[in-house]
């Protein structure tokens, strides 16, 4: 399982890549592995305001429904519009083709609450 160093992670198994106050968000390799074959993705709309810890969308595998939680607050500026038609990209490429949304950060200080790759792996081992 891969956990790229340039990303930040949450305990709900989302990842975040920040560049110029825009955060790209997806679910981790661990999350997709736990879910199994992803068959449906529900994303927010551009312009939606996200609040940290609130559901931003839904990922469904054959067996289960899982909420995806906003790791940070901000306005949705872009969604991966290819994802609803090819939800399996969450399994095959969780950090690249399977990115979910981009938001404009409301409060960059919130980034301090996220884990780095080593911290997330420690968290997984404890869990």
């Amino acid at each position: 399982m891969e956990f790229p160093d340039e990303l930040k992670y949450t305990e709900d198994h989302e990842w975040v890549l920040v560049a110029d106050e825009i955060a790209t968000i997806g679910i981790t390799d661990f999350a997709q592995d736990q879910l199994g074959d992803v068959v449906f993705v529900e994303l927010p709309e551009v312009g939606d305001q996200l609040e940290t810890g609130k559901p931003l969308g839904v990922v469904e595998s054959v067996k289960a429904v899982s909420d995806v939680y906003a790791p940070l607050s901000g306005e949705v500026v872009e969604i991966n519009s290819a994802l609803p038609d090819e939800p399996e990209m969450l399994n095959t490429s969780p950090y690249e083709d399977g990115w979910m949304i981009k938001i404009k950060l409301a409060d960059p200080a919130e980034l301090d609450g996220l884990m780095d790759a080593a911290g997330y792996q420690d968290f997984l081992e404890q869990d």
Partner: protein, 361 residues
């Protein structure tokens, strides 16, 4: 949690294990969709050793089973299998099962894992309340391992390991033979809608039988398959599942099981309630729905017609073959046969669903 004799084999194969009916069982190995498609195209091997086996034998075994089960036991010949159910006097279902006839006075019931104790207690109660005395009930569940070899290549794979004439075993018939030198009941039955066999062997031989089948099946594309694929495979074929379409609160007549409910065979447990329901007209009906937009229907989701809730989903999934959301839904009978559009409530949305003929695939 109870474990089958194959528990270690599943762990070693990298299966993801879950609790099912009190048992630790593999839900998937490589992935539900890949396993599902392997069974449709080649073959899959399921450990179903958690299923229960109850022996009914003795001079009055036939009479007792005719009383306790809803299908007509008189239709069975030696070495034939019958899909049937136990009902309560209310007409609701205790459990669905397959009934094996070895001889007129010797039968084996294969029951759902979660219901072994409930069914056995129920049968003992029926026996105690009845006038039948010349029969024996035995819970032999722990004596058997059971493997389901399913898929279009199942016969070719099994033929590598047995002398039995497999082509001569028709659907829902069985023989007693050997597979890989192991004494095995070879039954041409299954729960996937594909050709295949359910193999019963002594529990102590379960691991050896599994390994022999996997080795023989490898060149044919045989893969181990878990409960996840078992569920999607049965749902595409609209087979009822205990706890979903089969419960104490659903009549078999409502659950598309009229074909096993033999009201003309004479009185049996539940027959009066079922006859009454048939005469007064069924109020609910199980139908097949397919989403016409993206989404995954799931158990308990409400079904709407013109804004009114008219029923609920008993089983739903994303069909790996159709790549569409499919559902069995128990709805008001009047709505079932009407043409007004239906919707399934998925979270805050009402998603359009069309009635489709069953099976789905």
């Amino acid at each position: 949690m109870k474990k089958t004799v194959l528990n270690q084999v599943h762990h070693q194969a990298g299966a993801r294990m879950v609790e099912f009916g009190g048992w630790e069982m593999p839900v998937q190995y490589s992935g539900v969709i890949a396993e599902h498609l392997a069974v449709r195209k080649a073959a899959g091997l399921f450990d179903v050793s958690h299923m229960g086996e109850i022996e009914v034998s003795g001079p009055q075994a036939f009479d007792f089973l005719q009383h306790a089960t809803i299908n007509d036991v008189a239709a069975l010949a030696d070495n034939q299998v019958q899909y049937t159910a136990l009902c309560y006097p209310s007409g609701g279902v205790v459990d669905d099962l397959t009934l094996y006839r070895f001889a007129a006075d010797n039968y084996l019931l294969c029951v759902n894992a979660a219901n072994i104790d409930k069914d056995f207690t129920w049968l003992q109660k029926l026996l105690a309340e009845s006038d039948f005395s010349e029969l024996t009930l035995l819970n032999r569940s722990s004596e058997y391992a059971q493997l389901a070899l399913q898929g279009p290549l199942a016969e070719k794979i099994l033929a590598e390991l047995t002398e039995s004439d497999l082509a001569a075993i028709k659907y829902y018939w069985f023989v007693e033979g050997t597979v890989a030198g192991i004494s095995t009941l070879i039954s041409r039955t299954g729960y996937t809608g594909e050709d295949g066999f359910e193999l019963y062997c002594p529990a102590a031989d379960g691991v050896e039988l599994w390994q022999a089948l996997m080795s023989a099946g490898e060149p044919f594309g045989l893969v181990p398959t878990g409960l996840g694929a078992r569920d999607t495979l049965r749902l595409e074929k609209a087979y009822a599942l205990y706890g979903h379409e089969i419960t104490a609160d659903i009549l078999p007549l409502e659950a598309r099981l009229g074909w096993i409910t033999k009201l003309k065979k004479g009185d049996f447990v539940g027959s009066q309630a079922l006859l009454r329901a048939k005469q007064t007209g069924l109020t609910r009906k199980l139908i097949g729905l397919q989403l016409t937009e993206p989404g995954v229907p799931r158990e308990h989701y409400p079904v709407f017609c013109a804004g009114r809730e008219v029923g609920y989903v008993t089983s739903g999934t994303m069909s790996p073959c159709l790549k569409k959301g499919i559902a069995l839904a128990l709805v008001e009978a009047a709505v079932a046969d009407a043409e007004q559009p239906l919707q399934i409530g998925i979270r805050k949305r009402q998603v359009a669903a069309e009635r489709v003929a069953l099976p789905f695939v």
